[in-house]
């Protein structure tokens, strides 16, 4: 769990939200570049229209109201209204263009991540917790979406708005503006102080909440164990301390939040006081511009317009920083290149299904330049399985049985020696062709939340007769027919409505739907109910009768149905022959037989 991902390191190196890595997003942005461009074009127009409003209001007040000129009053006010309505329209265009572009970009990025990830090799998934990979395509992408629609261009808009407001203020009264701006540095410093404090406090709040929620989640899910072991009081005490920490962090955070809000509110009132005071002083000074009613009203508005982005600015920068960190992690994932190198040779369909292994060696880890093979799990396997033959592989835990299955199912790459299917090297065969040739049934049945049909076809187009054949062959039709919905019956979360035995039958059916020439079967060790057991055995025997099979066997009945038996020990073939031959030999197989295979196999699983 503590394996530091490289992402963490790179993120620390490039903490800036303006880093060049945003350019990596270009392929996803490009199809919507016109929308982004439209949003950018809107920016100066929005700023200009916004900054014009107080000035137009000032004109109405000073030129008509104060001057007592009723004529043209409504027209001048109408101009102000036009600016308000114009702002509404153009801001609408901006917001919609930007969010549509952002959402579409995010969708493309999501797809890019998913497509990339689904293609990564098993080694990657063995190392990387599923939750972390999931976070890349969900939370991290969401952070990015926030930054795109509320961070990036909207910061540009804020800056542009503030500039436009300042220009308008200078235009209306330069001296007053300068006097007010003198207040800006301490104000900005103060806001920044609060922001910093709040960022720390917010992190505290977030951590406290996360701790509280994950504690609650876990204890609720494990409530029976808690109750059985009488852990109620202990659990409540721990909950109380987490709950109190969460409360206290929030109360502290609330103070800064409330104070900042009030501070900005109060300070804008103080600015009004300052303007009035300034105006009063100007009265006595000949030649200076008089502070008019309209000017004060306009400046009150301008000050509000200046403060508003200031209030939100650091929040937006936070969006960007968070998105930057997320983007780093996403790039790290997109940069992972561990994948099975696809071959290109296409086997004839159907193909006879002759499997030849010669000198197959394999290690999960290796040191560069080390040829000693000291990490080898498989140490030179030789085996020929003729078309239609059934070979059972037996051995103790750790003998390399499961590794062999993984290699043949092409979920692991990098074997040495040679594995050929009908004379073609396995690594050279095109992925689609490998799947046509070799079907695999794994020990752990993975079911998806979808219909039964989907769980058999896995989203591929399969003809109805083919599907029906596979169902009948493996007895899966009994499962399909148990409800009137048939193949459309829903399979719930992780197959919670499917028993272990039914799951194994479905896994066998799933492999047979593809009608492969060779079947690699990793027999499950978990005990299943006798009825399913019988149906499964029947299905397996029918498959044996039709296909080339390599089966990692745990049940004696399966083993005795095999034509030949291969005994693996510590990655090497120690015996090979028929049941009777090997028993007569009195070696490793006879020893396993005496122990009862079922029990010998259960003690553990293959590494990872």
């Amino acid at each position: 769990m503590t394996r530091g991902s490289p992402a963490a390191k790179t993120a620390a190196k490039t903490g800036s939200p303006w880093g060049s890595y945003w350019t990596g997003l270009w392929p996803d942005l490009r199809p919507d570049k016109l929308r982004f461009l439209l949003a950018i074009v809107c920016v100066p127009i929005i700023s200009a229209m916004g900054a014009a409003q107080p000035a137009l209001m000032k004109r109405v007040l000073d030129d008509h109201v104060v001057a007592g000129k009723a004529e043209g009053l409504w027209a001048a006010a109408g101009l102000y209204l036009a600016a308000v309505l114009g702002s509404f329209v153009i801001e609408g265009v901006y917001t919609i263009a930007l969010s549509v572009a952002a959402e579409r970009t995010i969708y493309r990025l999501r797809q890019r991540i998913v497509t990339h990830t689904l293609g990564l090799s098993q080694r990657f998934f063995e190392r990387q917790p599923t939750g972390q990979v999931l976070t890349r395509a969900t939370s991290d992408v969401d952070a990015l979406s926030e930054a795109l629609s509320q961070g990036s261009i909207s910061i540009l808009l804020d800056i542009s708005n503030m500039l436009a407001v300042l220009i308008a203020m200078f235009y209306l009264d330069g001296h007053l503006t300068l006097a007010l701006l003198a207040l800006a540095p301490p104000l900005v410093a103060m806001i920044e102080f609060f922001r910093r404090r709040m960022r720390v406090l917010f992190a505290e709040v977030r951590d406290a909440l996360a701790a509280l929620n994950s504690f609650t989640a876990e204890r609720l899910a494990g409530i029976e164990v808690l109750q059985l072991y009488r852990q109620e009081e202990r659990t409540q005490a721990r909950f109380r301390s987490l709950d109190a920490a969460h409360r206290d962090a929030n109360v502290k955070n609330n103070f800064y939040d409330a104070a900042l809000y009030a501070l900005i509110d109060g300070i804008s009132s103080m600015c009004v006081a300052l303007m009035l005071y300034w105006g009063g002083r100007q009265l006595g000074v000949p030649g200076s511009d008089a502070v008019t009613v309209g000017l004060v009203v306009a400046f009150v508005d301008y000050i509000d317009r200046l403060f508003r982005p200031l209030r939100e600015f650091s929040g937006k920068v936070t969006f960007l920083q968070r998105a930057g960190a997320s983007l780093e992690k996403i790039y790290w994932l997109l940069g992972v290149t561990e994948r099975i190198t696809p071959g290109s040779v296409v086997l004839p369909d159907p193909t006879p299904g002759r499997l030849v292994l010669s000198g197959v060696r394999f290690a999960y880890r290796s040191e560069p330049g080390d040829e000693s093979g000291k990490y080898d799990i498989l140490k030179g396997i030789d085996l020929t399985v003729e078309p239609g033959e059934v070979v059972a592989v037996v051995g103790r835990t750790g003998s390399g049985k499961s590794t062999l299955v993984r290699l043949l199912a092409r979920v692991h790459d990098g074997y040495r020696g040679s594995i050929t299917v009908d004379g073609v090297e396995l690594r050279d065969i095109a992925p689609t062709s490998v799947r046509k040739a070799i079907g695999s049934v794994r020990q752990e049945v993975q079911l998806f939340t979808d219909t039964l049909r989907f769980n058999l076809t896995l989203g591929e187009v399969v003809s109805e007769p083919r599907l029906a054949d596979a169902l009948r062959l493996t007895n899966a039709d009994i499962i399909a027919n148990r409800t009137p919905e048939g193949l459309e019956q829903p399979i719930r979360e992780r197959g919670s409505n499917v028993s272990a035995g039914e799951g194994q039958i479905l896994a066998l059916a799933r492999a047979m739907v593809r009608d492969p020439a060779i079947v690699i079967l990793d027999e499950a060790t978990a005990s299943v109910d006798p009825l399913s057991e019988r149906l499964l055995q029947e299905g397996i025997e029918r498959v044996f009768a039709r296909k080339t099979c390599l089966v990692i066997a745990h049940r004696l009945s399966t083993i005795t149905h095999a034509d030949r038996i291969l005994v693996l020990d510590a990655g090497e073939v120690v015996e090979l022959g028929t049941h009777a031959q090997l028993l007569a030999k009195g070696g490793a197989y006879a020893a396993l037989y005496a122990e009862g295979f079922q029990d010998a196999a259960v003690a553990g699983r293959a590494p990872l």
Binding site: P129, S214, F255, G284, L458
Partner: protein, 596 residues
Amino acid sequence: MTLPFPHLRRFSARYVAPLWRWYLAGTAAVFLTNWMAVRIPAELATGLDALRAGAATAGVVTTAASHIFALGAAIIVVRTVSRLWFFTPARLAEFELREDLFARLLKLQPDFYAKYRTGDLLSRATTDITFARAFAGFATLQGANIIAALVTAIGQMAAFSPKLTVIASIPVILGFLVVRKGSAALMGIQRATQQQQGLYADQLLGALQGISTIQAFNVEVPFGARLGERASVLRDNNIRLARLRALVFPLFTVSGGIAVFLLLGFGGQLVVNGQMTAGQLAAFISLVTYLIIPLRLLGFLLPVFQRAEASLERIHAMFDAPVTRPELALTASGSGSPASATTALPPALSLHNLTFKYGDVAVLNGLTLDIPAGTSLGVFGRSGSGKTTLLRVLARLENPPPGTVSVDGVDVTAGDLDRWRERMVLVPQTAWLFSETIAENVAMGLSPGVLEAPVRDAALEPDLAALPAGLETVVGERGIVLSGGQRQRVALARGLAHARARGAGTLLLFDDVLSAVDHHTEQILIHTLLGRSSEASETRATPTCVIVTHRMSALQFCDQVLVLDEGRAVQLGRHTDLLAMKGIYQDAWNAQQGDG
């Protein structure tokens, strides 16, 4: 007649009302803040008019300016405390509610948990509580604030000009109505979006967990497309949300702009006609701008009430759910019995015509048998035959009908549940681990010194040797860093540790946990458990054991074997006797011996 918002009222009475001093002080501060905030435009009007009058009234201008400055400074303090005096009690109420809810959840029994998905319960205990807090803090503050702002600002506006007050109100009220409607629609889409996000995450998680299958079948492309479909639904929902958002909120700003336009026109006319001063009009405009903000929040307020009511209804459902502990009712009526006072002797169990139903389906059907103190019962049967349910009934995870299960001659449902659990250890079929260290998972409150023997007995030592930090390895969420077998062995060690801690007077219930250990370990374990190992002396009492297993190699050592089929006891006797009878047991034996 029923009053609206019953759950809000119930929550308020229990959690909010005791904090009334906070809220009273907060309300006073809110009114003071608003009164001061409204004074500012009034002072401004005086100042502006004096400014227009020229140098003669410069003193008035300065006075007004200094008043405004002082008001601004005072507002900083008063507004801060007014917010705090609402938000702090809200946090206190949230804390208490959370405490009580969690305590309640710990008391509720499995029949309750069977009715709800964990995710659903969790969202009640987390998200729903935040909505209750939003009511106690945000909604009460804004409610007080809106009332205060309306009363003070409208009073001031009417003092300037009743006619203008009416005129300015029209667009603002219309704008408010639009935003209210719009924000309701927004909430709807937002909820749909959250749901879509959840569905997408679920589907992606499913794909990642099933990645080896996906790759083995080379179906990465259809799976990518299937996820893409989900993602595009999510995208379209988000776009709808953004469109509506771009329309609704700016509309309120526009309604304010329209109000200002009307004020400029009509008010300007009034000033020109001499019915109002220019300073007053300017003050009026800033009052309208001031009112816009709380009014905009008013649009959010009703949804907050509704959401909090719905959330509290869901929370109260948990408070109202019955805790199914029949002995409590009995104790209350004075006939409670200490059926399981701590004793050094293992319990003797007796089942008399035990029938147990889930809904209408009888999962256990008319079981009658005795398990004498210190003996062992093996339970055999296909899945769905009622084995697990039998153990759950004995552990009172499910309550048997009265009079069907007795412990040492006393009805189990009449005894105190907590006492009973202290005399019993159940190791369930599916191991549940918490994301702590292995040591903490095994100990679960026991002192760490007692772990060595159970760890050895559960054959956990080889696993520990292979793990980076041994017993101190943090197992991750649900024990994710461990294999299935390792998880089961940790749970087994936990059971063994607690069994030892509870001493000889214990009942051990093992649900299919032997499959986690190899044949050899199983043999040692079963001998230790059943007191048949060479070192177990005759004098030491052995616990009463009920062991569910498929392994006949273990069943042969049990004092009795019960064969269940569809909830009925079809066979009962010693291993050797059952082998001699025709039936499920003999068939299974032959199958396990092979050649079948």
